[in-house]
């Protein structure tokens, strides 16, 4: 019986450490300090209600993936009437969230690029999302920026800007 103690203990330790390695690439949003911001020549605003499922390892991009969503009804342009207009444009009653899911992540110079599917309202389109990841003492920060044309996602209520610049700053911890 004693002869099994060491092999079994070693097997458990090896299994547990492997499990630790897998979970160490998992990142979660650090509190409410994130920023999901959109700007255009006409307006600017932010979204809240960010939910993420991020697995990211700079040295193993093949196994990395990013899933993120925000609540459409949380759009805040700093003006109550414009918020209502934006919520209607996004169809927030019917389409509660705006979601992104990566298909592939590659290294591009000093940055990374996630190719993925962005879903707004009833439209899903493939986009490329360039981003950086900087580690810090508490974890790291993802920063990315990309442009979208709202009309391509059936967000075409009068007054909607032709193009929006989306800026993401997401502090994460493990």
């Amino acid at each position: 019986m004693k002869t099994f103690v060491y092999p079994v203990t070693m097997a458990i330790l090896v299994f547990a450490s492997a499990f630790t390695l897998v979970t160490s690439n998992q990142w979660k949003v650090n509190g409410d300090n994130y920023s999901v911001r959109f700007t255009s020549s006409k307006m600017e605003g932010v979204f809240k209600g960010l939910k993420t499922d991020i697995v990211f390892d700079e040295s193993n991009l093949a196994s990395s993936s990013i899933k993120a969503s925000i609540e459409a009804a949380t759009v805040n342009t700093g003006n109550g009437m414009r918020n209502k207009h934006a919520q209607q444009g996004l169809g927030a009653d019917q389409y509660a969230s705006i979601a992104f899911e990566s298909i592939a992540i590659i290294k591009k110079g000093d940055m990374f690029e996630a190719t993925g599917k962005l879903t707004i309202k009833d439209v899903t389109k493939e986009i490329k999302l360039p981003f950086s990841f900087k580690r810090n003492q508490t974890g790291g920060v993802f920063e990315g920026e990309f442009k979208i044309k709202p009309a391509e996602y059936h967000v075409d209520k009068s007054g909607t800007p032709e193009e929006l610049d989306i800026q993401l700053t997401i502090p994460v911890v493990q």
Binding site: G78, G80, M81
Partner: protein, 129 residues
Amino acid sequence: MKLKQAFWLGIISAGLSSVACIVYGYLHAAAFYVDFSKVLGPVNMIAASVLSCLLMALGYWLALRWRGTSLLGWLQTGYAVLSFVSILGVLGFQLPLEQESPELFPGLAIPMHFFPVLSIVSVFPFFHK
């Protein structure tokens, strides 16, 4: 009406307007649990009340010197119309993006736009007999 009286008319009505604004601000915050003090705090309320009431008092002084009491009705109507038009500025105002519940801001700021004219019209009879 002397200029000195016009000055005190402006100051006293600004005081009343400031008190009304501050009390209403507290009531609004207590009723809706939203804090707009970073955008519209007591200092802003007092400054806006003093500026608008002194300007209106100067208007009274000029009108009385120029045409006597015959312009008073039009002057007060003008003040009311200007106060009403000024709410367009509130409706189009952009709050900082970190401010929560911006849809509740007009309910705070719009009534305040009428407090200076209400207070000066109330106080004016005590200064002009």
